[in-house]
Point group: C2
Chain length 349, copies 2
DNA sequence: CTGAAAGCGCTAACAG
DNA sequence: CTGTTAGCGCTTTCAG
C-alpha cells in the first residue's frame, strides 16, 4: 500500500497565509486571541487549499479524537441482525448519533462488546487504547455493568448510560419506562379493561423492572389486582408466546396484555391465534419499542414508541459538551409516547 | 477535558522487555527479522502490560489507519431510518462489515454522503483527510458517481463499488441482479404465469436495469410478451402502488408482478387490495431485498434475498488484503437466493 | 537480526 | 495577539 501522506497540512496553510502554525491551529479550533483580519486571512487559505485537519494528528497531540463510541451487546445485536427480525435499535442509534455528532464535527462508531465475557475489561481497554474515543455511550445491559462503568470512570472517559438510573459515574439517560408502562396500562384501563396481563423482559435489564412497576402502579391506582398477571420473558418471540400461553390458561385470563417489547408481542399474537382468540376483540395488545414490525402485524399493534434516536442524540450532545456544560447529576428522562393502532379496543365481554 | 495520554505505550513495552522500540514495533506488525525468542519476550511484555497500539499514532507515522469507510446515500438512508420502514440494509452492512473487519483488527465506520450535492468532492475529501481510511465501500448510487470514484482513484485509496459493473477503478461487486430477476421470473413462469408484470427501480441505479433485463430475458426465452408490462418506480411505497395500479388497469392485466424492492411490493399488495384482488390467488407477487417486512405482510412475500452482509464482508476482505492479493479485474458476483413464501401460486384462471 | 535517529501533523506551554 | 519549542506514539529510514 502506498504510503499516504496528508495532502495539505497545517504547514501548507501557515505558509500560504504567511503565519505560524499556531495561528492556523487557533483558527481551526476557534480559539480566542486571533485578530479578525488574521482569522479571515487564515480561513481563506484553508478554504482555498481545502485543508482539513487530520484527526489522527489532533488526537496525537493530546487533543480530542472527535470520536464517540456507541457500545452494544455483541451477542444480542448479531442475533438480531442475523434473524432479520426488523429491530431497528441500531439504526435509530445511528440516526440520532450520526446526525448530532456531525453537527459538532464528531463521528460515531458502533462497537459490539460481549457483556458476559470474562474479558470485558480487556476487550474494552483494547478498544479504548486503540480508538481513544472522546465519549462512550453504553446501552443495556452494559449500562449497569460495573466492570465497564468502573473502567471508563477510572480512565476518565466521559460516558453515558442509557436505560440506567443506578447511582454511579456517567450521565444517565432513560426513556422513563415506568411512566410509559403506566401510560399504556392506564390507556387499557380507560378502555374498560380490568384484567391487564404483563409480559416482562429479563431481569438483567433494569427497565424490565421499571415497566413492571409502571404497570403495577397503574393497576393498583385503579384498584385492580395484578396477582398472577405477570409473566417473564427474554425479549424473544418464543418467550412471549410461552408467557402469553400461561396468561391465557388462567382461570380468568386477561382481556389485554402488555408485552415488554415487540418481538414478545408477536408471540402474544401467536398465542391468541392458537387459542382462536381474536385480537383485539378478545384480547387487546400493547407492545414496547414500536419497531417497524408493529405496523405489519395483523392487526397493527398499539405500541410505546421508545425515542431511541432522541435519547442517543441527547447523550452525544452532553458527552461532547462535557467540558463546558455542568454535568447533569440526575438522570435525564426522554419521554416515550404511545402510538395507537388497531390492537386496542374496549373488552367485549 | 483532561488531556488523556496513552496509558501504556510502545516505550513501556520496550523498557519492560529490554529491547528497542523498533523491535516492539516489529513484533506488533508481525514483521520478519525478529528471533523467535525475542518475539516471545516482547509478546510477553505486551500481554502483561495489556499494551494496544494507538491507531492515531500508527496512522501518523505513515502506516495504516485500520479503518474502512462504508458510504451510503445520505438522503435515502436518513429517510429510511426516519420512516422506520424496516429496511435493514445498513444493519446487514454492519453485520458483514464489522465482523469481517474485526477479524483483521480493522473497524468499520458508516458515513452518509449526499450524491446529489454539488460539493460531493469537497465533502468526501474532507472526510478522507480527517479519517484517512484504508479502504472505502461505495454503495449505489455512489458506486457509479464519477466524481466520487475519480476522487478515490486519484487519492489512491482502495475502494469497492457495490452494485456496479461499469468499467473503471475500484473493486466491483454485484449480487448478480440480472440472474436473480431471471430466476424470479422463471419461477413464476414455472407456476404457469404468462403475464408477469415488472415494477422497476429508478434509472440512476444500474441494478434497476439489470433486473429489468433478467425479467425480459426470462420472458422472451419462454416466448412471452413483455410489452406494456413494465413500470418504473422510485423504490418507495407510493411508486409501487402507482405502478401496480397502472399494470392492473391494463386490458389484460398481469397475473403476477415482480417488484424491484420490498417497499414497492407493499404498494403492489395495496393496489391489489384496492381492486379487491386476492394475493396470491388473483395476483402473485415477488419482491426484491427480503427485508424483515416481507415476513409480516399478508400474505408473506416470496422474495429475492440480497446477500448484503456477504457482499460487504467480501468487499472488506478484498480491501484489507489489497496489497497482498492480486486485485480482481472482473466484477465479483455474490449470488442471491429466492426465498419462497406465500405470495406465489399458479394463476387461478 | 537489532538499534538509533528522524519525522508524521498537530497542539500545549511558554515566550515575546 | 502571535510565534517558537517540544513532544504525543509510532514507523520508516538507515546503521550497525
Amino acid at each position: 500500500m502506498a504510503r499516504r501522506r496528508q495532502a495539505v497540512t497545517i504547514k501548507h496553510v501557515a505558509k500560504d497565509a504567511g503565519v505560524s502554525l499556531q495561528t492556523v491551529s487557533r483558527v481551526i479550533n476557534n480559539e480566542p486571541n486571533v485578530r479578525l483580519a488574521m482569522k479571515e486571512r487564515v480561513q481563506n487559505s484553508i478554504d482555498r487549499l481545502g485543508y482539513v485537519p487530520s484527526i489522527a494528528a489532533q488526537r496525537m497531540s493530546g487533543s480530542r479524537s472527535y470520536l464517540i463510541l456507541a457500545i452494544n451487546d455483541r451477542e444480542k445485536t448479531i442475533a438480531e441482525w442475523h434473524s432479520r427480525s426488523g429491530t431497528d435499535w441500531v439504526d435509530q442509534m445511528l440516526l440520532g448519533g450520526i446526525l448530532t455528532c456531525s453537527q459538532y464535527g464528531y463521528r460515531m462508531m458502533v462497537e459490539l462488546v460481549d457483556t458476559h465475557n470474562d474479558h470485558v475489561e480487556r476487550e474494552l481497554s483494547a478498544t479504548i487504547a486503540a480508538l481513544q474515543p472522546d465519549g462512550v455511550i453504553l446501552t443495556p445491559p452494559h449500562s449497569e455493568n460495573r466492570l465497564i462503568t468502573g473502567l471508563l470512570a477510572k480512565k476518565n472517559i466521559p460516558f453515558a448510560r442509557i436505560g440506567s438510573v443506578e447511582p454511579g459515574p456517567g450521565i444517565r439517560l432513560t426513556m422513563d419506562d415506568e411512566r410509559s408502562a403506566r401510560m399504556a396500562t392506564e390507556m387499557l384501563i380507560g378502555l374498560g379493561h380490568r384484567r391487564v396481563g404483563f409480559v416482562a423482559g429479563p431481569d438483567d435489564y433494569s427497565l424490565s423492572t421499571w415497566r413492571i412497576n409502571g404497570w403495577k402502579a397503574a393497576m393498583e391506582q385503579a384498584g385492580l389486582p395484578t396477582s398472577g398477571l405477570l409473566q417473564h420473558g427474554d425479549f424473544r418471540f418464543d418467550s412471549g408466546l410461552a408467557a402469553t400461553q400461561s396468561l391465557l390458561a388462567l382461570a380468568s385470563p386477561p382481556t389485554a396484555i402488555i408485552a415488554s417489547n415487540d418481538q414478545m408481542a408477536l408471540g402474544t399474537i401467536e398465542a391468541a391465534r392458537e387459542k382462536n382468540l381474536d385480537v383485539p376483540s378478545d384480547l387487546s395488545i400493547i407492545s414496547f419499542d414500536n419497531t417497524p414490525v408493529v405496523r405489519f402485524t395483523d392487526p397493527p399493534l398499539t405500541a410505546v414508541d421508545q425515542p431511541v434516536a432522541a435519547t442517543i442524540s441527547k447523550a452525544v450532545e452532553l458527552l461532547i459538551n462535557v467540558a463546558k456544560l455542568p454535568l447533569p447529576r440526575e438522570p435525564i428522562n426522554i419521554e416515550a409516547t404511545l402510538v395507537e393502532r388497531a390492537s386496542t379496543v374496549p373488552p367485549q365481554n
